[in-house]
């Protein structure tokens, strides 16, 4: 069985993001970009299934600008066998990503598609559910444990999963594997080649910083805390 894993390039989870002064979005130039953590977990799960003899090949796919190839390369260094990059220069909404994924599934015919449950940039939490719907495949969202039993395995169980945090601890790419990844194949294609028109249903009007909380006070004792909660905040 072939497993396909979708991965997204996002602002690294440890970066403190900055909203652009013109309110058009979040600063992404000169900011460290990484593989979305949930996608890492999805890829790790696929690799473990391959190591357990449950899968023959792991294909990592990513959609977006040319830089996505770097993220795919990371996936290959973790152990994916090959990559597919759908080159889309502009913004992509989950519905379009789901349609592109469906097109790739139609041509690659994997038995299982695994995605992270959400990207940590737009926090949409949609793509897995949408692609499963488009494919008429069953979906298992927010998986924190996946077990495949031998019987259902050979049945027409093709499904799409999205992964939650607890599923596994993703591996680091080792130097030899990073070097090896350089010779692995990343196929490039376009939405036109996949016959998927990219449409947009959403227009970003503005992006602003959330209101800051007022600085609080540091108390010196439990007595003071109980008093404040009772008499000032009146919450107990």
């Amino acid at each position: 069985m072939k497993i396909m894993v979708a991965i997204k390039r996002v602002v690294d989870y440890a970066v403190k993001i900055r909203v652009k002064p013109d309110k058009t979005g979040v600063e992404t130039t000169n900011v460290k970009m990484s593989m979305n953590p949930f996608c890492e977990i999805a890829l790790e799960e696929a690799l473990r299934m391959k190591e357990a003899g449950l899968a023959s090949e792991v294909v990592a796919v990513s959609m977006g600008p040319a830089k996505c190839v770097d993220t795919l390369r990371t996936g290959l260094a973790m152990g994916a066998d090959r990559g597919i990059h759908v080159d889309v220069p502009g913004a992509l909404q989950p519905l379009s990503v789901a349609k592109l994924l469906k097109a790739l599934v139609d041509s690659e015919k994997p038995g299982l598609l695994i995605l992270g449950k959400q990207a940590i940039d737009d926090d949409c939490n949609q793509t897995g559910q949408m692609v499963a719907g488009l494919l008429s495949w069953p979906q298992g969202t927010f998986a924190s444990k996946i077990s495949i039993c031998g019987l259902t395995f050979s049945a027409p169980l093709r499904s799409s999963r999205s992964t939650d945090l607890r599923l596994n601890q993703p591996r680091y790419a080792t130097l030899p594997n990073i070097l090896k990844a350089k010779s692995k194949v990343i196929k490039k294609c376009t939405p036109e080649e996949l016959n998927v028109p990219i449409k947009s249903d959403l227009e970003t009007v503005q992006v602003i910083e959330p209101p800051k909380r007022k600085a609080g006070v540091i108390l010196s004792s439990v007595d003071e805390l109980v008093d404040k909660l009772k008499n000032e905040a009146r919450v107990i």
């Binding site: 719907g133 069953p138 959403l202 805390l225």
Partner: protein, 329 residues
């Protein structure tokens, strides 16, 4: 305007988060015809329908899909049901709470209807203009929906709080209608099977709707110590939350996690013990009205959002609190 609300029910009544979805639906604009879709089977569905019909003045109609297929709220039949109901009703909006239920079902239904859903809406400015947090709540994005109908949303219950909705206005109960499932078919249904549900049975209030939330972090060290948090929660009639670190370490189950990818809460009082305050955690609780933080490390980022901070060892502070806090009313 006409809105379809996808509702969850349990034990014969609507779940609190579905009230928030109704509240969000009714704030979409004037002259909004709000229909509520309930699915399931048997007497608990009938009871929930009666509850739904009289729970809010803005509800014009209750639609019931009565079939064994919907008992376990699996996404496959539900998404198909939404598609079917939309074909007939041509609603301008479809709304669900962004609970596991809404997040599982609504995007799939949106894909079947070929529209882009908007998840985790925290504010509604106009019928097609919404505010939603991105980057774990570190930015707020205003989006305009420019696609075709229906405009589909999941809304954060914490942002659409509901005071109380009792089913007392029996006089103006909305009509209840059954969805015609004759064209539902079997295709695509049943490839997922419900196996079992394991849940925490607890006397404490639900994390998502509790007035007070007591959260423990990694500093609790083990599951046994975490009982201190539970004890304090019991005293205050509070729900228990946990950080990702505490869940990862196995102190408490997955569903107690508060944060960007866990539960988003906004209680009146949020007390964090031994929580450092990673941005992913803050994303889940920053809208709480009063935040209390107790941590040994005076530099912990949690103190930057806390209204009241106490630098100290939680193993000293919690017992003292238990002693000095008033008994729950």
């Amino acid at each position: 305007l006409s809105t379809l609300v996808l509702a969850e029910h349990e034990g014969g009544s609507l779940k609190p988060q579905s009230f928030s979805a109704i509240k969000a639906a009714s704030s979409l604009g004037e002259n909004n015809h709000v229909s509520m879709l309930l699915a399931g089977s048997g007497s608990s569905l009938q009871q929930a329908a009666a509850h739904a019909a009289s729970c809010h003045p803005s509800i014009s109609q209750v639609l019931l899909a009565d079939s064994d297929r919907f008992i376990h709220s699996l996404a496959e039949p539900w998404a198909k049901l939404v598609h079917l109901v939309q074909q007939k009703g041509r609603y301008s909006h479809i709304v669900a709470a962004s609970s596991s239920f809404g997040k599982n079902i609504l995007p799939r239904a949106a894909a079947l209807l070929d529209v882009s859903p908007i998840t985790d809406v925290t504010g509604i400015s106009e019928s097609r203009l919404f505010v939603r947090p991105i980057y774990a709540g570190n930015a707020l994005c205003t989006v305009r929906y420019t696609g075709s109908v229906p405009c589909m949303l999941t809304v954060r219950p914490a942002s659409f709080p509901v005071e109380s909705m009792s089913a007392d206005s029996k006089s103006n109960a909305a009509p209840v209608e059954h969805v015609d499932l004759s064209s539902f078919g079997e295709d695509g249904v049943g490839k997922s099977r419900y196996i079992s549900q394991s849940s925490q049975v607890s006397e404490r209030p639900d994390l998502g709707n509790a007035r007070v939330v007591i959260t423990g972090g990694r500093a609790l060290k083990n599951a046994d110590n975490f009982k201190l948090i539970e004890k304090l929660a019991e005293r205050l009639g509070a729900a228990v939350g946990a950080t990702r670190a505490a869940v990862d370490a196995g102190f408490v189950p997955n569903d107690l996690q508060v944060g960007q990818t866990g539960k988003i809460v906004a209680p009146e009082l949020y007390m964090a013990f031994g929580v450092s305050g990673a941005i992913q955690h803050l994303a889940g609780m920053r809208d709480s009205k009063v935040i209390v933080a107790v941590n040994k490390d005076s530099d912990a980022p949690i103190f930057q959002v806390a209204d009241y901070g106490l630098v100290g060892d939680l193993f000293d502070v919690i017992p003292e609190l238990l002693e000095k806090l008033p008994e729950k009313k």
